[in-house]
Each structure stands twice: as C-alpha cells, then as structure tokens.
C-alpha cells in the first residue's frame, strides 16, 4: 500500500500508533464505576406528569394579560427582486396598530457562521416569504388588516432555483456582496459566485484509485427540501422594560445563541437581553439559532413596554423559518472484485436557499464526512453551499448526513450487487474501525460500527430467505444502510452547569441546554443524582433563563448528553467535594473515608452518618463549637480543547471533530407491484452510543428517528415551483401517521465507550433518521430490482418504475 493511501487499522491492515494518544487530557469515567445504578437504569421522564396532564407550559401558554400585542410579518410574494419602495403610512394610521417597522429600522446583519442575513429585507428580497416589514397591533385581526395596508413595490429579478445551475457562472447572483460578509475562519465563501462555502477533500492518488478498481460506477442522487414539522410552530414574546432591558420568551433550542445573535444584530449589550425558554414542542433543528425571533425583539423595542407575541402559522412554519436544504449529489466510486473501495469522488451541490448563515456549516460537515463511514484510500470531495431563491436552509436532525448518505449508501449497495457480493459483507469489509484514517486524516477512535451492521442485519434475518408476502402481487425485500455523524459545531462550543442544594437535601440543577423532547432533563437528573449520591427523586432540573442559567452553546449536534452531561457531572463532583470537606473538617476525618449514599454522608471509618439536609445550607459545628461549610453550590464546565483546523485546500488535519457516532439500520419492506404501494414491515436500528445513560430513552430516540426518516423517505417534499411553495399544509405535505408507522421496530444499543463522555456516553439524538431512507431504497431494490435515486420514494414513482420495467 502506498504512503499516500492513508492508514488502515490493525484489524484491517496497519495499526496507527497515534491512536493511543488521541486525547491524553480527557477524564475517563469508567462505565463500571457507576456506584448506585441510576446510570444505565431507565427512570421515567421527570416532566412526564406535567406533560400528560396539560400542565407543562410552552411559550404560547404563558399569560401576558390584555396588554399583549399581536405581531405579524409582511412577507415577500416574489422569490427575487429589488425593493423599490415600502409605504407603511396606511398601516400606521389604522386604529389599533401600535408599531410598524421595516428593514430601515434594523439594517444590521446577523448569522451564526456567515453574516448574510437581516431581520428584515432591506434593499432586496431573496425568497418567497422573506419578511420586509412587521406590525404589532391590539388584535390578530387588526394585525392582519395592517399587513394588507403596507404597500411594497418590487422590481423582479431572475431567480436561481437549482443548486447546480446556481453554482455555474451563468447564474444570476443572489448575494452580490458575498465578499464583504463577515464569516468564521473555517468557512470559505467564493465571492462573485453563489457559492458561500466550498469544502474540499484531496487525499491519495485518484488515478491509482481508479486503476486499482475492477468496477467504477457513477450516479447522481437528488434529495428535495423537507420541513422539520415540530408540532409547536415557532413562537416568541418580547418585552422591553423601563431600563431598556428586553426579555424574550422563545420556543428555542438555542436561548444563549439567540441572546448572542440578536444582541449583535440590534447593537445592544448581551446583558440587556434575557431569553427564557420553557418547554419546547419539538425542534429537530428548526429552532436552533435565530429565525423569526429578531423581528419580535425589533417590534418590542418600539412597543413602549408592551409585550409582543409572534407566532408562526402552520403555513409560515413550512417555508419561512428553516427548511432542510435540498441536495444534488454526484457519487463516483471504485471497487475491486472482492469488494474493497479504492476511490471515491463525490460532488455535493447543496441548495442553501436565500441565506446560508447556518447552512454553510452543514455543507462543511458533509465535506468532512463525505465518504460515509468507510476507509477510502483515494478521495476527492467537493461540497458546495449554493445560494438559491428558495427558503432558507437550516439545520435539521442529521445535519446533512441523511441527505448525503441517501446517495452513498445506495451507491455502495448497487456496486455490491453488480459485483455479485453481499452488501452487508462489503460494508463490513470497508467500514471504519479503530485506528483507521478517516478522509480528513483523523484517526478513528474506538467504534462499534461493525457490531451495529451485524446486529441490524441479524435483526431482520438478513441471511435467511425472504418471508412470504401478505398477498398476491406483493413482494418483499430487505435493505441495510449505515451511517456516521460527528457533532458539527465550532471547535470550542462550551457547556456549563451549577448544582445548588436546598434545606431538604434536594438538588437543583441549572443548565443552559433545552429539553425539546429528547430527554435531556431526565438524563441530567440521572447524572447529578449519580455524581452527588442522592436519589433521582431529589433532583430538580431547571428550564433555561439566560439571566439565571449557566451558559450553553446550543441544543444541537446531539451534544447535550456528552458535553452538558460532562458539565453536570463536574458540578456534582464539585458539590460533593464541598460537602465531604465540610464533614471531614467537622468530624476530624479524612475525606477519603467519607462517601454520600442515598442522601447521607457516611463514614466508612466510624460508620457515622448524617443526612445532607442537616448540613448543606448551615454547615456543621466542629467539636470546639465553631462552624464550617455553608450553602453548597457546585459548578462545572466542559469545552473540547483538541479539535484542530483543517487545511482549506485538502481538508486534512489531525482532528476534524470531537467524535463520530456510528450505526446502521436494516429494514424489510413489502411492495405492492400493482399499485406501487410500500409497507415498511420492520426497521431494526443499531447505534453505538458509547454508554446508554437511560437505555429506554436511547431506544425512544432510535424509534422516533427511524419513523421520521421513513416519513421523509416515503412521503415528504416541499414542492417549490419557481420558488413558490405549493404545499405548505398537512393535507398536501403529508407526514407519517400512526397508520404509516412500521409494523415493528427493534432498537439495539451498542456500547463502545467514548473516552471523554460522561460514563462513556456519546450522543444519538439525530443519527437514527440518517440511514433510514437509503435502507428503504435498498430494500425496494431488493424487492423489485429498481433503484430510486430521488426522494421521496412515493408509490407513484415505484408504480411508474415498475410499469417501465415490465413494458
């Protein structure tokens, strides 16, 4: 093997010595060191009772009294054009209208990675639905009337509605000022084009890779825009007090990022903005960063102290906050007769939409993950983020991985079939193992990917003959796909936590991360209980208020269990140490002889014990009558310190990401060959979660993710016709219902510990929807011998394909 071809692990070929010293500073919590067994148990969700009784409070449930103003946004009806004039005088004159604002009032730029977005369009509109003005009125009826009275004069411009065309020199420019936008150092805009990020991987020798291959196959795959569809639409309330301080109640995954980005955009100090997030009714990425919240804050700044609510209608939710980016993927792969991948050349054209402030990082993630979870010696990847006049692409569960794996996982399947090889064996042969070099030159950490593939395959009886179909004209098939995904984020996203003890010996955990359904509150309660030595019933976890909660970057990237979990565990350790020091001091003992068990400090030496409630606030009296200790507050923080930059020309660097969660899904489908209808019989999921803190919640993530993946695979597409959304409602944009859900699921936990995760844990929230669509596509191929290279795989497409096949 040539020097350039990268390092293969011992299991495959060569062991890399570097893998031993990957992360010397990490503090490893041995999974076996869990003392009191709440780790790995599955306590019920701590907010379960509130959620089944209707008592759980979401933003729209908060009461602001009759003073509350109703906000509404005037939106562009055209996909691309110059704003020649805006006349708001008639709207302002309408009785009951209290505030009208436009882009002139807030000209600043905003954005998470690339500042290419304004709260309101200023001189140009770039997608249908872009806000150009906002009103706040006494009632929703008056607000709606006021929007009608705002006159906007547009000069339409030619639009960009396809990312490949958008990347070409012929395309009109969506952002002529791209070169002047501020951006983070790991994003590479191409001024004078529509390409707002170009991530490249260049590794090995492509000519050699193709020469070694016995089969070279190239194909193009398409993934349309889809919407996250949280059941709770985006909603927020903003209010300014007499000191000028603004409070924003927001249904958000990112209270701290909202504070940061909105403060910057409006040129106010961070301490003048407070973001409160109660329960959140689903997010799936759409409520990360900022989308419509800046408009509410802008209105509140002119509302003379009255609170202003902005709530998206279901139609607005479909295309004005975030959508998942569309993708056109060119995949080219070389394989030897015995199934070894020799080379990959992949080009991804991402339909980023009218702003790519967040989306640029999705395209980066697709770049550094661009081979899928395989060892490939010769690699050429280009991932282009392309501006179009489509809705704004943002983060969605999977962050580019579901889209990218749709092509790669079908491609590898197709080549295996062409070579007469078993697709599962081909995956096992090529999948990344510990010590392998990834496409960016990072050494793969211990991973259970092979085990995931084997277990998922086993769960659908991969090696056994197909079960009999349920009727005539029906045929069954099995398919498997695997995946990897790293938390995609800046190199230094921080988490912090505090734990306070109260007079009753109970603990209050404060965090800045959000439970949007994934179970973060419960998992943090488990970690705090374990770290402190108290019962989970005695732990409370607060929802977020940026004035009182410690900092958290964002609830994204499946990072909370890992990152915030570390912070909570450190806070628990800190509180525990303070408690033990106090007792050691009062009792004249060594701290090492003391422990906390079920809420009592016990001495292994004297067998004395004292309940926490007797000492965590007032401290303890020493034998001489003086006092020691005081109110116990523990604090913890975590930030990865080892991620390195990558070379902009080759994408190479020692450590691209913190870690990869890997996994596989295997599905069995039944196709009705007369109607094209498709029934998913079973989805088996296996993911390497490092260590499952709450196994039932891990399985619930796998199951929910698989069905969301299935829904996007079979049903979902936001139809954009020259930029105009044609199906922004639940009748025309169907998502899976109870009737569509698979007949069976199996959720398999694989545990290869993460060296710097709490008790070895790593995240799994997003991953389960990544391999579902290609696994279903592979099963359809197995059933009827037909490749469907574009999502969604509708019964119409299957029927048309079969009709063509047989004619």
């Amino acid at each position: 093997m040539s020097q350039e071809s990268g390092v293969r692990s011992q299991e495959s070929e060569i062991r890399n010595p570097k893998s031993e010293i990957r992360n010397p500073k990490s503090e490893i919590r041995n999974p076996k060191s869990a003392k009191h067994s709440i780790i790995g148990a599955s306590p019920h969700r701590i907010e379960g009772r509130a959620k089944v009784t209707g008592a759980a409070t979401y933003v729209d449930d908060l009461q602001f009294g009759p003073n509350l103003l109703c906000g509404a946004l005037k939106r562009s009806p055209i996909p691309h054009g110059i704003i020649k004039s805006i006349d708001v005088s008639r709207a302002r004159a309408l009785p009951g209208v209290r505030v009208v604002v436009t882009g002139q009032d807030f000209p600043g730029f905003t954005g998470l990675y690339l500042k290419d977005r304004r709260i309101f369009a200023l001189d140009r509109v770039r997608f249908v639905g872009e806000p150009v003005a906002a009103v706040a009125a006494d009632s929703p009826e008056i607000a709606a009337q006021a929007l009608e009275l705002i006159d906007v004069d547009y000069e339409p411009l030619p639009g960009v509605f396809d990312p490949e065309f958008g990347a070409s020199p012929e395309a009109p420019l969506v952002h002529p000022d791209l070169g002047q936008y501020e951006c983070v150092p790991f994003i590479f805009p191409q001024p004078g084009t529509n390409i707002s990020n170009w991530f490249k991987v260049r590794k090995g020798d492509m000519a050699q890779g193709w020469a070694e291959a016995d089969l070279v196959y190239e194909h193009r795959y398409r993934v349309p825009h889809v919407q996250h569809v949280p059941l709770e639409t985006h909603v927020c309330v903003a209010q300014q007090d007499v000191n000028g301080k603004i409070t924003l109640w927001s249904s958000s995954q990112s209270p701290f990022a909202q504070r940061n980005l909105i403060a910057q955009a409006l040129h106010i100090n961070h301490s003048k903005l407070r973001v409160i997030t109660p329960y959140v009714g689903g997010g799936f990425g759409s409520k990360a960063g900022v989308s419509m919240e800046g408009a509410a804050v802008g209105l509140a700044m002119h509302a003379k102290g009255r609170p202003v609510k902005l709530r998206m209608t279901r139609e607005e939710e479909f295309y004005t906050t975030f959508v998942r980016q569309g993708l056109v993927a060119h995949v080219k792969m070389g394989m030897t007769q015995d199934g070894r991948i020799t080379a990959m050349e992949n080009r991804f054209y991402w339909d980023g939409g009218a702003s790519t402030e967040y989306g640029v990082n999705i395209t980066r993630a697709a770049g550094y993950s661009g081979t899928g979870p395989y060892f490939v010696p010769n690699i050429h990847v280009d991932s282009y983020c392309v501006y179009t006049n489509h809705p704004i692409g943002g983060p969605m569960r999977g962050f580019g991985m579901a889209e990218m794996h749709f092509g790669i996982e079908q491609h590898i399947d197709q080549m295996a079939h062409q070579l007469g090889l078993d697709p599962v064996q081909v995956r096992l042969k090529n999948c990344l193992k510990e010590g392998d070099e990834t496409l960016t030159g990072m050494i793969m950490h211990p991973t259970g990917l092979s085990e995931c593939i084997r277990k998922a395959a086993e769960a659908i009886c991969w090696d056994e003959p197909q079960t009999l179909p349920s009727g005539p004209h029906k045929t069954r098939g099995k398919g498997l796909a695997c995946m990897w995904k790293a938390p995609a984020m800046p190199p230094n996203p921080g988490s912090s936590a505090t734990i306070r003890l109260s007079e009753d010996g109970a603990a209050t955990v404060s965090i800045g991360g959000v439970d949007l359904g994934q179970g973060a509150l419960t998992v943090m309660a488990q970690l705090a209980a374990e770290g402190l030595g108290i019962k989970i019933e005695d732990v409370r976890v607060n929802t977020v208020d940026t004035d009182y909660s410690p900092y958290e970057w964002q609830t994204v990237a499946s990072r909370l269990t890992w990152s915030m979990g570390n912070a909570v565990l450190m806070a628990a350790d800190d509180a525990r140490t303070k408690i033990l020091r106090t007792v050691a001091d009062a009792w004249g003992e060594d701290i090492d002889d003391l422990d906390i068990i079920e809420g009592q400090v016990v001495s292994y030496k004297t067998e004395e014990a004292i309940p926490l409630r007797d000492m965590v606030i007032y401290g303890l009296q020493r034998p001489d009558g003086t006092w020691t200790g005081g109110p116990v507050v523990g604090e913890g923080r975590f930030m990865p310190e080892y991620v390195t930059p990558l070379d902009p020309e080759t994408g190479q660097g020692p450590r691209a990401v913190v870690h990869f969660t890997t996994g596989a899904q295997a599905v069995e489908v039944e196709v009705d060959t007369e109607t094209g209808e498709l029934q998913v019989l079973k989805i088996a999921s296996a993911f390497d979660v490092g260590h499952a803190i709450n196994p039932e919640m891990v399985k619930a993530q796998m199951e929910g993710g698989a069905v969301q993946g299935m829904s996007t695979a079979l049903l979902e597409q936001l139809i954009l016709d020259q930029g105009i959304p044609r199906n922004p409602n639940f009748t025309d944009y169907r998502i899976a219902t109870a009737v569509d859900a698979p007949l069976a699921t199996e959720n398999i936990i694989v545990e290869v510990p993460q060296d710097d995760g709490p008790f070895g844990a790593r995240g799994v929230g997003e991953h389960p929807m990544v391999p579902t669509a290609p696994a279903i596509a592979n099963a359809v191929y197995h059933a009827v011998g037909m490749r469907l290279d574009s999502m969604p795989i509708t019964s119409q497409k299957v029927w048309e394909g079969l009709a063509k096949h047989t004619s």
Binding site: K51, P230, G282, A706, F730
Partner: protein, 159 residues
C-alpha cells in the same frame, strides 16, 4: 358580534360571552386559560387541539365556540380525577410515549374516546383511531403500546 354560551368544561359550568368568529380552541385557551389543549395548525389537520365534546373527540380549532353552547367539554385537564391520573396517562409515562409533549394532550383525548367506545381495541383499531393525531417525535410505536397497556389496566380494574 358576541354570543352568550352556557357550557360545561371538565364538569364546571361556565357562562361566557364569545366573539362569533372565535373557535372553541381560542375560548378554551384564551378565556378559560386551559392551555393544555394545543394549537398546532388551526386547520383540523394535526389533532393537537382535540377535546371531547359530548363524549366525541373533535378538533376544537374546527368548532366555533358558539356551537359549543349547551355542550359538555372534556379537555386534557379533565382527564385526571383529583390527583388520580387516567390509566392512559399512567401508561404514557410508563411506556415512554411522550417526548416533546405537544401532541400528547390531543393524543390522550383521542385515545380516551377510543377506549370509551371500545375497551379492548386491536392494534389496527388503535392506529386507525389515532390517524388524525400527528406526532413528530415518538414514531407512534410507544403511543400504540401505551394505549394497549391502558386497555389492559382498564380490563384488570373492570375484571
């Protein structure tokens, strides 16, 4: 124009003046501050606003408040009795059938209506009964399991 309506909500009598264009959902949430009933689409398509009206499940966003005159309404807040949860509520916690919780009230109300008319539903009957309740988090499997659990618990109590 306002209408005066007299109705019972969760066993309590109310006499309210409601705008003619306001829906039952708006009146429950805004006038009575029974915010457990959720607004997910205002088009009768997602089921988050389901309540029982004279024992039948309805999407309260599709019912004008004036139409509820004389009706008996049960919302999610009326499912538990005193602090005793409905067996469905217990089962949803037990089975892990909740994630974000936003669809949960509507699902529970609809599931209660199902068990009221059929104490021992088959799995296809459960799926069919819940087809109007969209859930984006759970994938439905645990919801279906919870309804089965509650039906079993109901049978044990009855038997």
């Amino acid at each position: 124009m306002n209408h005066t309506i007299h109705f019972k909500v969760n066993g309590e009598r109310y006499d309210l003046s409601v705008p003619g264009h306001h829906t039952l959902l708006q009146v429950l949430r805004e006038q009575l501050v029974l915010t457990g009933t959720k607004n997910g689409c205002e088009a009768g398509e997602c089921g988050a606003c389901a309540v029982l009206m004279n024992g039948e499940p309805v999407n309260s966003c599709m019912v004008l408040a004036a139409e509820a005159d004389g009706a008996e309404i049960v919302t999610i807040e009326g499912l538990a009795h005193d602090s005793q949860l409905d067996p469905l509520q217990d089962a949803f916690i037990e089975a892990g059938a909740i994630q974000c919780g936003f669809c949960t009230p509507g699902v529970l109300v609809n599931a209660r209506a199902l068990l009221n008319r059929n104490s021992d539903p088959s799995e296809p009957e459960i799926r069919e009964a819940l087809v109007g309740n969209l859930c984006r988090c759970t994938g439905y499997i645990r919801i279906i399991e919870a309804v089965k659990m509650a039906a079993r618990a109901g049978k044990e109590v009855a038997g």
